[in-house]
């Protein structure tokens, strides 16, 4: 069935994320079925497939928005199948969204500070007694946020509202918000959609640096094959909710089924 099924599946020992036999149905529609996925620590793992092939549904199954109907999701050996999204976040999974999910009406800084939410302990009394009960925590988290702001070169727009930013910057702010949570598993849903070649280059560099400096594992959903081939260690291709190929990117993109899914039949 696949080019490199053995290397792809392997065993789940020591894996950061391990999905087995994931199936998700919406009414009579089977969005994802029989997907196995193992991501090793500090790996950048690409997930590709034509529109509607189930990539986002798979991430939603992992993060708990649409719990899988069948199959299990394990995070660092721990079963998280069907756990609520806000709990999955606390366990060390951060993600960005395909259609940007920044909070309008808030500054870039406040948006990124929200990424620190799982490390903070906000409350009503603490807010009322800010100077004694909240200030230290706010400042400490601000310092961590500032490190990421510097890392992603967002210093100049820190106090600006996110509403009016160009899309390339918005995507970068969202990446910053995901990174400050200090996740073990980072899921990026089309972080380079709508970007030009130069912005794509920047973004790829940020992802590689994030792995090198912060040791995150990345599940990267993308349509840009050059990016997938360029930065991913391994990849998985989906079509109509099923795995059609997986393994080393250079080999997977030559797979006739992948080419057929992307450019149509009678091509090989």
């Amino acid at each position: 069935m696949t080019t490199n099924r053995k290397t792809e599946t392997g065993d789940g020992d020591g894996a950061i994320l391990e999905c087995r036999g994931i199936e998700r149905r919406f009414g009579g529609i089977v969005a994802v079925t029989g997907v196995d996925l193992v991501i090793q620590p500090q790996e950048i793992f690409g997930l590709v497939g034509p529109n509607g092939s189930g990539k986002t549904t798979l991430t939603n199954a992992i993060t708990g928005f649409y719990p899988p109907n069948e199959g299990t999701v394990r995070l660092a050996g721990r079963d998280i199948t069907g756990t609520a999204p806000h709990k999955v976040a606390k366990l060390g999974v951060a993600r960005t969204f395909q259609n940007l999910a920044l909070f309008n009406g808030m500054s870039v800084l406040d948006n990124i500070l929200l990424g620190r939410h799982i490390h903070m302990n906000p409350g009503v009394i603490r807010t009322a007694l800010y100077w004694w009960a909240a200030q230290r925590e706010e400042i400490e988290n601000r310092k961590i946020v500032e490190e990421v702001i510097e890392f992603l070169q967002l210093e100049s727009i820190r106090h600006e509202l996110v509403d009016g930013l160009p899309i390339g910057l918005k995507k970068r702010v969202e990446l910053a918000r995901a990174l400050v949570a200090e996740p073990e598993m980072l899921i990026l849903d089309e972080p380079m959609a709508g970007m030009n070649q130069e912005e794509k280059g920047y973004m790829s560099r940020f992802i590689l640096d994030a792995r090198a400096e912060r040791g995150v594992s990345v599940l990267l959903i993308e349509h840009h094959m050059d990016v997938i081939i360029g930065i991913c260690d391994r990849m998985l291709a989906l079509n109509y909710g099923e795995m059609i190929a997986s393994g080393i990117p250079r080999e997977v993109v030559k797979d006739p089924r992948v080419i057929e899914a992307y450019v149509g039949g009678s091509h090989g």
Binding site: H86, F103, M106, L114, V124, T127, E138
Partner: protein, 357 residues
């Protein structure tokens, strides 16, 4: 012009997270605070008692509603009912002999409990459906108040509030009442200002803007919605209790009826959702303008020697103030707070405003 950012440098994060970063804002606030403190000495007690005091208490109440509607984004049409719970609980407690300090807290906590019941509706339904659910709860509360003499105080449905006493002092003078209202309003305002720069405020805005994105950041939207309702209800309860203790002196169900709920919501919307200074402006417009227009119309007609019959005289202020609300919302849908913000932003760069555009 007055507001200057030049020369303001933040050398550490503490100074960068101050409430007022612009010196002019800080000075203006201090000035207004001092005027507030001095008001009993520079203002006739008639104005102090019939304008300043209700303005301050309603502002505190409006800020509470702003917390749940402006910050957490939950439409609430039963706010007066929650205020009623606090008022009646506190007064019953005080009549029972509980010291007023604790009676007020009991009122606030009772409101929190009932207000959190509203929140359970908010977990299930959104938007207009939530508005209707809270409205239904308002009607239920109205009915309970008018039909249970044990709560509303007998056949006349009025409940005398015992003399207010705080920190061992009986408060009976106009000045005393004013300072109680002033103190409460300042406390609520400080809380709201702090809300703007803490994780709690950010989490509430996250729930309002995109709850799915909030969830993936670890924000439990159920918890924060309940927290927003409980906190705002506490503010409502204490405000309601103080309103009766310092202004009405007699609690009656119609003081907290459905049109009061709508009026508070109007204060918040006209002032600006999520704007603190806006709540002050909004309450002033809704509460004080009718009286002001009344005075102007009556005085004007007298000066001009015109004969206006009583009925017309009673309707003109309502029409004018209705028109004012429409005009404000047409000019700036985000309310008076945003209008003030626009002027402030303009002055901040004046005369170099072309740099901004």
């Amino acid at each position: 012009m007055f507001y200057r950012l030049s020369g303001v440098h933040h050398a550490n994060y503490v100074s960068d997270s101050r409430i007022f970063k612009v010196p002019a804002d800080r000075n203006l606030t201090a000035f207004i605070f001092l005027i507030g403190l001095a008001a009993p000495f520079i203002m006739p007690s008639l104005y102090l008692n019939s304008y300043m005091l209700p303005w301050l208490i309603w502002t505190a109440a409006a800020l509470g509603l702003n917390l749940v509607t402006g910050w957490a984004g939950q439409l609430h049409l039963g706010y007066a009912a929650v205020m009623a719970v606090g008022a009646y609980s506190a007064i019953h407690a005080a009549r029972f002999g509980v010291p007023w300090e604790f009676a007020l807290i009991i009122g606030g906590l009772a409101s929190s409990v009932i207000g959190s019941l509203f929140a359970f509706a908010a977990l299930r339904v959104k938007g207009l459906y939530l508005a209707l659910t809270t409205l239904a709860m308002q009607f239920v509360m109205d009915w309970v108040l008018t039909h249970s003499p044990a709560i509303s105080g007998g056949s006349h449905a009025s409940l005398q509030s015992p003399t207010l006493a705080l920190l061992g002092q009986d408060i009976t003078s106009d000045t005393g009442y004013y300072y109680v209202a002033f103190g409460w309003c300042v406390l609520v305002t400080i809380f709201m200002l702090n809300l703007k720069r803490t994780g709690l405020g950010r989490a509430l805005v996250a729930v309002r803007e995109k709850d799915f994105a909030a969830a993936i950041l670890g924000v439990n939207s159920f918890y924060y919605k309940i927290l927003a309702f409980a906190t705002s209800s506490f503010i409502a309860g204490v405000s309601g209790a103080l309103l009766v203790a310092t202004f009405f002196f007699l609690a009656a169900p119609e003081q907290f009826s459905v049109n009061v709920s709508i009026q508070v919501l109007a204060m918040v919307i006209v002032g600006g959702l999520g704007s603190i200074i806006g709540s002050y402006f909004g309450v002033a417009l809704i509460l004080l303008v009718p009286g002001l227009v009344n005075g102007i119309v009556a005085g004007g007609s007298e000066a001009l020697g015109m004969q206006i019959n009583v009925e017309t005289l009673a309707h003109i202020p309502n029409a004018v103030y209705g028109a004012l609300i429409v005009i404000v919302l047409l000019i700036e849908p985000l309310g008076l707070g945003k209008l003030y913000g626009n002027i402030r932003d303009y002055l901040m760069v004046w005369p170099f405003d072309q740099l901004r555009k």
